[in-house]
Symmetry: C2
Subunit: 342 residues, 2 copies
DNA sequence: ATGAAAGCGCTAACAA
DNA sequence: TTGTTAGCGCTTTCAT
């Protein structure tokens, strides 16, 4: 193990003080161009790079953002993670990952571990935050941004799609297409995304003079969604929906598969299916799913801006609830109803 | 911003020295049970937790593993990442993520950034390492493990599936099924996974007395795979393959979609398709793809063990090339050829 | 077993 | 602009 080069060694080689070296690496510090050049070339020769951890200790800024993720099975998250990490990297921050899954202990344990690393901020993706956890971070002076989740009561910033509006758009689409018996398959009912999507959907149906024809819960879970689909659709044509809105794409794929391969129904001829997220497989031709797009880029952008803003202005803690507009993406899993519907 | 509690404050409260506090948090240090108890309870009252960064500075061990990932679009990687992060978390390590994608600069830049964080080790997933980069880490005394990639010449540890064996199994399956015109769609030819899978496949064909009927390159890329599929299959029945091995699942999905929805061919009736990876969508009923499973759990386990072993025994640098056995998973995208083949 | 003291590599006053 | 000095919060000798 070769020891790393320190700023002191560079200083000696460049014939300057150790602080001069430090300043040469501090943007906006007062160093003459000449000194900076001497330092840089000495550093170059020695292969010196500042030790981020040492810098973090004294400055109190680690330039590490803790990211808590519950699961990566929903392909919206890997996409978001990739973009988030890239965006942060460009701003000189890096992402320390914490899985908040079953095996890895509960959210509080994870939070303590994060705080141990003196992170500058925390992004929580698809994690429901208890107010206790929130104030724990508050107390530690570490800003938190919720990604793709929102809480009611709290004073914590969050970035989500406009899920209510998205749900409403689906209702408008489906009623506009002439569907008469419209069903909904819900996600996990503890998730704000699920609640908002359903609320918007129901409001939209109501505004169009419709009521929900059938409802089942899929819990964002494949097997439960399969069951839900069967109990909703394993019926005579008049007793089953002619269209269904599913709370996210992954469940919608299961629904389509059960419909086609389990029940021998056609999509969209017998049933129109709409999802939410627009994960990449939604565009694959086997599904070609009509869905509401969560604009990952915009969401990530806002998340980064929000968290960095909190970090740079620790005093004015103005929590922001940002909602990103989410457009409908119409593909071939939905279609206009013909006259036979009467 | 509330200041964090320091060991000194705990020490005062517990009526012991600051070193005693440190020892109470150092497994195997010599502290009496009584002192440790006093410390723990004082710490509890104050909400004290050791500062990982400060500890890292003096001990030289950050308990951070740098993970370099090129892209998360192949769903094998999010899965692996999740498992890796969990496994490391259980051992008291955490993962600092670095995207080595186009936007985020080249691999060398990324590597410098990683090293700045004094990581204890580096895992590179699907990143081709230049020998220069390798020795850079060597010089810094930071162990590296390649995940799902292997290099020839180097002295760097790697964990992969047994890709050669996997390719061979596919050849045995397809020839055993009675296929006569067998094609191959290659991935990016710079990837060791691609090369090994193809080599094993060709060897297997040869052993069965077959030769490759057609070959195209898909580059692990959707559009190029679409083109490749068309030029391989947009032909009369006698001129096109009756089976195709595709270098990974994601390309295989494209192939199936083009075959079915673009060319109106049936899978497996007209063409058998085999992939590699066994990513979750391979099991979705719309694809139900026969494939070679990369055992993510086993691969991650070996990766963790290897890197921690290198970290704990910095002297004996015995690079290991680990190959995980990869079983064939037979689903419905392949089937026995009937007599009409003659 | 315990405390005192040194110092990890750096930044941030403070002087000059 | 530059060098000197004092720590950041911890681990680790070295005494005791």
């Amino acid at each position: 193990m070769v020891d790393r080069v320190t700023s002191l060694e560079v200083a000696r080689r460049a014939g300057v003080s150790q602080s001069a070296v430090s300043r040469a690496y501090t943007p906006g510090a007062s160093v003459s161009a000449k000194t900076a050049a001497k330092v840089k070339s000495a550093a170059e020769e020695l292969g010196y790079r500042p030790n981020v951890l040492a810098r973090a200790m004294v400055s109190g800024k680690s330039r590490i953002i803790g990211l808590v993720v519950a699961y990566l099975e929903n392909y919206f998250y890997p996409e978001a993670l990739e973009k988030l990490s890239n965006a942060l990297q460009e701003r000189g921050y890096h992402v320390l990952i914490f899985m908040a899954s079953q095996t890895a202990g509960n959210i509080n344990t994870v939070l303590e571990e994060i705080l141990d690393y003196q992170v500058d901020g925390i992004v929580m993706a698809s994690v429901a935050l208890t107010s206790e956890v929130g104030s724990r971070c508050q107390a530690a002076g570490v800003p938190v941004v919720l990604f793709n989740r929102s809480q009611d009561m709290d004073d914590i910033s969050s970035v989500t799609s406009d899920n209510v509006q998205g749900g409403r758009k689906v209702a408008e689409l489906l009623t506009g297409l002439g569907h008469k018996r419209i069903g909904y398959i819900a996600g996990w009912e503890g998730a704000s995304t699920q609640r908002d999507r359903e609320a918007g959907f129901l409001a939209g149906l109501k505004d169009a003079g419709h009521t929900l024809f059938a409802r089942e819960v899929g819990d964002f879970h494949a097997e439960r969604t399969e069951k839900a689909t069967l109990s909703m659709f394993d019926k005579t044509p008049e007793d089953r929906p002619d269209a269904v809105f599913v709370a996210n794409d992954h469940m919608a794929f299961v629904v389509m598969d059960v419909l086609r391969h389990g029940l021998g129904l056609r999509v969209p001829e017998d049933v129109s299916v709409v999802g939410f997220d627009d994960v990449p497989p939604a565009a694959w031709r086997s599904y070609d799913l009509t869905t509401v797009r969560q604009r990952a880029n915009a969401m990530v952008e806002q998340t980064v801006e929000t968290i960095l803003n909190h970090i740079e202005n620790p005093n004015k803690r103005k929590p922001k609830k940002i909602q990103i507009d989410s457009p409908l993406v119409i593909r071939s899993s939905t279609r206009q109803q013909g006259k036979q519907e009467r």
